[in-house]
Each structure stands twice: as C-alpha cells, then as structure tokens.
Amino acid sequence: MNAWLQQAIERGQGIDDWLSPARARALEALSNTSWPTRRTESWKYTSLTALEQLDLTAESAKQQSTVEPIPGVDCLDLVFKNGVLQTNLAQMNLPAGLQITSVQTTSAVQQVIATTLFSQIKPKHHLFGLVNDALAGDVLFIDIEQNSHIGQPIRIISLSTGGHESHHRVLVRLGNQAKATLIEQALGQQNSLSTGFTECDLGEQAELEHYRLAMHTGEAIYFGGCHFCLHHHANLNSTLIGYGSQLSRTDIDIIHNGEHAKAKLNAIYLLGESEHFDLHSTIEHAKPNGTTEENVRGIVGDKANAVFNGRIHIHRDAQKTLAELNNRNLLLSRRGQINTKPELEIYADDVQCAHGATVAEIEEEALYYLMSRGISRSKALVMLNYGFIQELINQMPNQQLAQWLEPQLRARFKEMEVR
C-alpha cells in the first residue's frame, strides 16, 4: 500500500456524518486499490511521483490566488478555501426553486436525495474520486426544483493555498425541465494538493450550462472530476478550460441514461513551462437517440506535457446515437509532448460516429500571410495560436464569461515560449 493512500484511508475512517455509509464503501474500495504506476493504462502518461514526494511543510514562493468578480456576470458565488466553505449559506439570497446546503445543513428529506447522487454518478474507478468520497468535508448540495429556471449563474470557486491538502465535493440535482448555469473555478499556485469532484443529475428535459475552469498552476497538485447523468431529453453544454501545474488531471464522465439526451463538451488546454495536464473523458451512450459532440483543443509550449484520452462507449441498446469526438493539438515547441488517444467502442449497429486526433505545428503559409501584412512573427504566432482556440471560445454560450476569460488566456499565451 502506498504511504500517502494509507494515511488518507486512516483519516477517512475518522469522519462521521450522514454520508458515512457511502464513505465506508469508498474506503473499502481504496484499500483494495493498487497504487497506479506507469504500467496502469489510465495513468500511463501521468506520473504520481509529485504526489508521492509531496511535502506540505515546504515553503512556497508563488503568490496567492484571489477571487475576482466576472464583469457583467452577476453570479451566486460559493467560495471554498482549502476545502472549507467560506460562504454563509444561510445569508444567501437565493432565487425561488434553488436550494443550496452543505453537509451540516442538509435536511433529512434532502439527505435522501443527496444519497442517490453521492458517488452514484461518478464511476467507481476514479482513484482520487474515491479519495474525495472519503475525505470531502463540506459536501455542497445544489438542488434545483423541477421547472425552475435559475437565470443567475452559480459559481463555485475553490482556492488552494500553500501547505494545504483539501477535498471538496459538489452535488447538483436539476429536476425535470429545470435550467441552470454552473461555473466551477479551481485556483491555486502554491505547494498544495486538492481534489474537486462534482456530480450532476439532469432530469428529463433539464438544461445545464456548465463551465469547469481548472486553473491550477505551479506547484499546486490537482485532481478534478465532472460527472453528469443525463435523463430523457436532457441537454448539457459544458466547457472546460485546463491550465497545467506540476500535476493536474481532470476526469469527465457523461452518461446518457435517457433517450434523446444531448451533450456538448468543448475543452481547451493551454500549457507552458513544464506543466502537466491530463484530461480523460468518457461518454457512455446507454440509451438510444443520444447526441454527443466533443471538441478538445490544446496548445502545448515549452516542456509541457498534455495527455488526452477520449472514450465514447455506445452500448448495444443505444441505436441512432450520433457521436463525434475531435481532438486537435498545436505543439509550439520541440520539447513539448502530447499524448492523445480517442477511443470508440460501439456495440450498436445503427449509429453515426466519428473521431479524430491531430497534432500539428503552426502553418507556415498562414504565418507568412500575416507577416506579409506587416505583422511581426511573434505577434502573428500569438494570433494564430489564439485563433486555434478562439473557435471554441466563440461557442461559449455566456459571451461575457468568454470576454472575461480572453485576456487571461491571451496573457497565458504570451508567457508561452514559442519554438
């Protein structure tokens, strides 16, 4: 047994609340788990050495992250700092149809609902998902009543600061025909370890606009997960922005559990220096007539390392499924690395599926065209690189959020060493 995992299990055994039965199952699974190595398929390109050597008493040089408002977007902000909820839920002015509780305040009735979500949508095979099951303290439960349309975006910010280990968990239930927007922003630069897992259940004809901004950089180790269960005619539109840190991984699972569900997933990762970012996505088409459109684009500079694994699994009953997965990468440096693997597993015979993955360098012709109009080489490179992901930014349903993100992404580019 790995030493870190061993002590995590021990700490988990000390937690006692109404989630204990589920936590106990996770602890049991963890004690039967073998620690991943490079020979473990889903960890082939992501080494856990940084975690094994983690010393949270070590000094951290980088600055602390802060919570910034998004201009023009009036969010319901929920702030976690090192896994502890900072927001006073009782004082929040929530629109009708929306209830937000934490593990201490969840009513007995809601506990029953929350129990049907907690660790029920997220597949059991995610090692750090199990760790989060066992250790997440302030489990947040966001419950949106059926037919309720929550116009105000709900933003969950999780900050990690130096010397801390933290685990936060979010459960979201959208009742039938409910609508909501969820923005999840994870930040941290300093020497720390955090996990953040979210499970969302989308009722019949429910619509969720979702953003996960996995912005851990520097020494902050991060394991994140977004897991969605879509019922009849549910509609998910999700955008992921990934930065890289010394070790950062996000797992996404979308399960089509009702007919005619629609999922759109756009993901962007931008990596510089010697950052590492790993994105694993799995789309399960369990029912017929589902649609999935997944576009993943990444730019990798310097000595950075990107891993993408995109799996689409179409079950035997999932006839008339329409699924597309596309991964495009731009490599700015010869020292950078991209490992991409799209996987299609199809057991139904009447489906339309396509997948593809490419790794390219900047097109010389486009570069020449821009330079022939007086634009400098370095400026042209930034424009072209940005253009590569601008297409996905343009597809973000909330353009004010896009406008807020843009200068941050551009600034990140400028720091990335080209060639």
Binding site: E363, L370, S372, R373, G374, I375, L384, G387
Partner: protein, 254 residues
Amino acid sequence: MLTIKNLHARVEQKNILNNLNLTIKPGEVHAIMGPNGAGKSTLGYVLSGREGYEVLDGQVDFQGQDLLEMETEDRARNGLFLAFQYPVEIPGVSNMEFMKESVNAMRQHRGEEPLTAAEFLKKAKEACKQVQLPLDFLKRGVNEGFSGGEKKRNEIMQMILLEPTLCILDESDSGLDVDALQVVANGVNSQRDGKRSFIVITHYQRLLDYIEPDFVHILANGKVVKSGDASLAKQIEQQGYAFLGLDTSEEASA
C-alpha cells in the same frame, strides 16, 4: 520606386528566376504576363519575402533600401503589398482583428498613434464598401468560407486599408466573373494617384481592359523576354506566346 537587377531565385532546388531585370517608377502600372511556369508568382513571393524562395544572385532596390535584406513584415511596413493569388484561410482570427493589427503595425512603423477601435472600424467600413464586401465579412474568420471572388475582393480591401506604395497583384482576376472583375479593377484604379505603383500579374488581357498598364512585360523562363506598351498585351491575347518563339508546352506551375 523599385529596381530589380540580375535577379536569380530558386524554390526547392529548382531555378525559377534567371537574370530578371525590371525598373518601376512612382505612379507606373506594369503588367506582367507569360506562360505558366514562367516565374510570375515566384517574383511576387521573392519580392514579399516568402520563406523557401531563395535568392541566388542580384539586387532589388526598393525606395532606396535593399529589399532583399529586409524581413517580410518590414517589407510590408515599408509599403510593399502583395495581393495573393490564393489568399489563406485562417479560421479563428477575424478579418477585423487581422486588419486592425496590420494597420496599426504600419502606423507604428511610421511613428503614428494606433487607431482606436472606432476610427479603425470607420476606415474598414469604407474599404469594404469600395469593393462591395458586406460588413459582416469583417467579423468572419480571415477568408474563412469566402468564395474565390470574395477572397480577391478581400485582398483589395486590405490594399485600400494599408495604403501601400507598391502593390503587386498576383492574378487578382483569376476565377472572377465580369462583374467581380470590375469591382476589383475599380478598387485598384481608385488607388492610382500618380505616386503609387502597381505590378499586375495576369494571364489574361481582360483585366488590362479595366486597369490600363503603362508597360507590359512578357516573362518566360524566369526573365523578361519582351517589354512594350498596352498593345503588347492585345497582341498576346490574339496570337498567344508562340510569336515570341517560346515553348509553352511545359505546364509547370510557379
């Protein structure tokens, strides 16, 4: 304006330009015609500084400066403009962003303040109007999904915005119907002010009905084999290149 002396250049180990000489004075319009593979497009690329086009010998003086020593972007900033035969599609970079960067790079070079968004938009709208390009083309990705004719008009729109001193039009007429041809030609003619010079590369005399050249040069095997006035183009149109004793059987593309 431009003096080309004894220019030799090659692409991918193949010699394309062989002892090319050409002198262009301010305000002049020079048409360059010639069979496929003569080196017409290569001349445009060499002058604008495209990578992979290697100059082996010769000099090019552009407004008193050694053009061949300049970087691609500096040639543009000093007033050289190439309208591409095949404009490049760049999805994700909007035409507006592209031209704003470009115009402001030119202004910075001249020591002028960058244009504000509003000032730029006004100019861009005027330029679009001149070549009958709908305004929403400014918001679209550079040449993304444009038809052949729209791409050519977009090139002329850029030329109008950038106000170069020497414009090289590389087959700006190819693939255009008569109406589009007229729009492109009107755009070019509107920029003739007695100081600005043009090199018009074309296969067909047709364009020269609309843009009247001061000189016509026939390029073959990488050099100018005959020069004359506008009547030379008409002669080519009627008789082909055969009367010049050129072998035009080789359909190489350059």
